[in-house]
């Protein structure tokens, strides 16, 4: 290591002096500030190919230290992801021979009304959950930000739902919204109102799933907003108040514009996670039925795209078709994220 002329991270920048560097580097030396700069200049003069390979070798202990994550990532995430690309062009039942079928799975996908219905279900559930969730999170964050006492307590309360087991929540919501014997219908009956068939109506099924997701993730987003709020200088609020702005005006004219990057972040994250709803409908609507498992409940109203993928791959053992479903869905998520990004970004540039 020490024999190489380019070696050594040269962390001693200013103290290394003109004498240690190659002759050609003498001129810029005095202006050289932090030592970090040095390696960037040096390779240019140190021969045609100092090579990234060399640099990898030089930093091998660091690479070794971070390697476990990347090894696990490539074995358990990267390889399976790439493998599904291959699978999407095959017909395969899991143990038999694979058979190359070209784009046939995608052609099936195009003609499959259940696939398109699952996309519609997913989008409706996503809108029903994300919009109220982010709005309520913002309001909650502003409220908590303005409190002086028990702030730590509120933060813990907000965070707890997001680390609660999803299966437990789904079972609990199933009991609360149950058609005949649920808590909500018991209250409605107690108030002499007619009970709502929450778990069998096409729209209320989606509403129940969206409510579950909202309940779980509102607090998490509120915590992120809270962090963003604390970065807004208090002088701005004072100035607004001096100019006679009320709390609502301040919220819309100061808080929201300054939080825009944070809002963009939560919108992207909520889009990616909200479109991947799977456990909620799977637990709510019997996954263990022998005749028709994972069908998404009455009228398939809770059949999200990922649940449909799971049903095709693991109940019907049609792994090629399952892979085609997730790749088509991946493209859709990508599209929606890009649209979101564009919408929020453009507004930011305008002022």
């Amino acid at each position: 290591m020490s024999s190489s002329p380019v070696a050594g991270p040269a962390p001693t920048g200013p103290t290394s002096g003109p004498g240690t560097g190659p002759l050609g580097q003498a001129a810029p030396d005095p202006s050289r500030g932090p030592g970090r700069r040095a390696p960037r200049i040096r390779p240019v003069s140190a021969g045609p190919r100092p090579g990234p390979r060399r640099r990898v070798l030089r930093h091998w202990p660091q690479y070794l230290a971070i390697s476990p994550y990347y090894l696990l990532f490539s074995v358990f995430m990267l390889f399976p992801v790439l493998y599904t690309v291959y699978l999407a062009f095959q017909k395969w039942d899991g143990i038999g021979e694979m058979q190359f079928v070209g784009f046939q799975q995608f052609r099936f996908l195009w003609d499959d009304p259940v696939f398109w219905m699952s996309i519609r279900n997913t989008l409706v559930i996503w809108v029903l959950s994300t919009v109220p969730m982010l709005f309520m999170a913002l309001v909650l964050a502003v409220l908590v930000n303005s409190t002086k006492r028990f702030t730590a307590f509120y933060r813990v309360c907000l965070f707890i739902p997001s680390i609660t087991s999803l299966v437990a929540i789904a079972i609990f919501f199933g009991a609360v919204f149950s058609n005949n014997f649920g808590l909500i219908n018991a209250i409605l009956r107690g108030l002499h109102l007619s009970a709502v068939p929450w778990m069998s109506n096409e729209w209320t099924i989606k509403l129940v799933i969206a409510t579950l997701m909202t309940w779980q993730w509102t607090g998490y987003n509120a915590i992120i907003y809270l962090a963003g709020l604390q970065a807004i200088p208090s002088e701005l609020y004072e100035a607004a108040r001096m100019d006679g702005a009320g709390p609502v005006r301040i919220f819309f004219s100061i808080t929201i514009p300054l939080l825009r990057p944070i809002i963009l972040f939560t919108v992207v994250i909520s889009t990616v996670t909200g479109l991947q709803s799977f456990t909620e409908p799977q637990v709510l609507f019997g996954s263990d039925a022998a005749t028709n498992p994972n069908s998404g409940g009455p009228g398939q109203a809770g059949l999200t795209t990922l649940l449909y993928f799971y049903h095709q791959a693991f109940d019907n053992n049609d792994f090629g078709y399952g892979a085609a479903i997730v790749w088509a869905f991946f493209l859709l998520i990508l599209l929606i994220v890009l649209v979101n990004w564009r919408l929020v970004q453009r507004k930011e540039r305008r002022p």
Partner: protein
């Protein structure tokens, strides 16, 4: 700085070495486990066999070390994954009744049980059940653990309230056809307004399909789900919905409904008795069992199989046939409500006794004859996948009030698409 880095590296190298060694050990023991003819691994699921019989099998075959794993979660997926390599595959495994057809195209992954001594035992077991595990060229890949002969469970007290016959023999006679059954349902609902006849129409549909010899795909791998036998089953299944005697339960409220008198009858297999008694212990003594309207039908019933990589197929089959002997099947009935597949067991005291939950009724008088009358149907590998849209559309009728004729058209067109994807003509 230097020192700590060196120490860090040492630690990292040691950790890596340890991880490698563990992995190597793991690999070694697993491969020796399945190649060894004296150590056999055995997979089944909780409730899939009588745990007492399995424990006795370990002592009975003392020269073999039987290592049992009660596999939780999605059993089929885990078995599919396990079968991919000899090291991970079990030597004996359970296969659920609803999955057996999907394993038939890969029969070469299993030992043909006829080659290890099943041939001389098969006459003692129900032929229609063995057919489910037999390939078209005659290989037997699974030996039947249990079956699910279906019957009508009914609430004697509610029937009495409605002035209907209450004795199982009379009820069975009264309910000989589906139309008779629905007529009784209308009377029952009129007399006791909160009581419905069936929990959902999907259950009626599956019973009627099970009463025929043809299902959704025939032996020539042709889709027949649009033909008269399925259309008739559909039309009959929709009747309770139009008559207003369908409770439309498609969620987890069944448990409560069965206990509070919302359901006056329940169609189900013999093992379903356990679900009812678990969900509604308070109704003990009020239920009775009558035969199924329209003939015998089966729902479920699992198998034991030997993967082709098994270390000792002969010994494995000896263990299987011991666990599934008529005497041990009778114990399975007592311990885990597994209805025997060997008719000889129906005469044993464990089955001929009265059941207190059913007011002391000897339920074998209903289930025994039903078990032997179940038609031998051809169930294609893609049968479950192709039948799914019919059940989904039946729930659409119940949930959205979808027009039954439109639902039928949608179900058939979806089923055809799935059939095409699954390589059915």
């Amino acid at each position: 700085m230097d020192l700590s880095r060196r120490r860090f590296l040492q630690a990292a190298v040691l950790t890596a070495a340890a991880a490698g060694a563990t992995a190597a050990c793991g690999g070694g023991s697993a491969s020796s486990g399945s190649k060894d003819s004296k150590n056999l691994t055995f997979w089944y699921w909780a409730g899939g066999l009588s745990d007492k019989v399995v424990a006795d099998a370990k002592t009975h075959f003392s020269d073999i070390t039987l290592k049992t794993s009660v596999v939780g979660g999605d059993f089929k997926t885990k078995l599919l994954t396990g079968l991919r390599a000899a090291q991970t595959a079990p030597d004996i495994t359970g296969i659920k009744g609803e999955d057996i057809a999907s394993f038939l195209p890969n029969a070469n992954r299993f030992v043909d049980l006829n080659t290890v001594g099943a041939k001389k035992l098969t006459p003692d077991y129900l032929a229609w059940k063995l057919k489910q595990a037999t390939t078209q060229d005659g290989k037997l890949i699974g030996f039947p653990i249990d079956i699910g002969p279906c019957a009508t469970f009914y609430r004697e007290d509610l029937f009495a309230k409605a002035g209907l016959p209450t004795d199982p023999v009379k009820v069975s006679a009264e309910l000989s056809t589906w139309d008779d059954y629905f007529k009784v349902g209308v009377e029952l609902h009129k007399a006791v307004p909160k009581t419905y006849l069936v929990n959902n129409i999907g259950s009626v549909f599956s019973m009627i399909v099970g009463q025929g010899t043809r299902r959704f795909i025939d032996e020539d791998n042709t889709f027949i789900g649009d033909q008269d036998h399925i259309r008739t089953a559909w039309t009959t299944a929709v009747k309770p919905y139009t008559l207003g005697i369908d409770a439309k339960i498609n969620d987890n409220t069944w448990n409560a409904a069965i206990g509070n008198g919302t359901l006056g009858t329940e169609l189900g297999a013999a093992w379903h008795a356990l679900d009812i008694s678990n969900a509604a212990p308070g109704t003990k003594g009020q239920w009775r069992v009558a035969s199924l309207p329209g003939g015998a039908s089966n729902l479920g019933g699992s198998f034991l199989a030997i993967p082709a990589t098994s270390g000792n197929p002969e010994e494995a089959f000896k263990i299987i046939s011991w666990i599934l002997s008529p005497e041990n099947q009778a114990r399975g009935f007592t311990d885990a409500a597994l209805f025997p597949t060997a008719p000889a067991a129906y005469k044993l005291p464990a089955l001929t006794g009265g059941d207190a939950f059913f007011g002391g009724q000897k339920t074998i008088e209903i289930f025994g004859p039903a078990a032997e009358k179940i038609p031998a149907a051809y169930e294609a590998p893609a049968d479950a996948a192709v039948s799914a849209p019919y059940y989904a559309e039946l729930t659409s009728i119940e949930a959205k009030g979808k027009d039954p004729d439109q639902a039928w058209k949608d179900a058939v067109s979806q089923a055809k698409q799935i059939a095409q994807r699954q390589g059915v003509k």
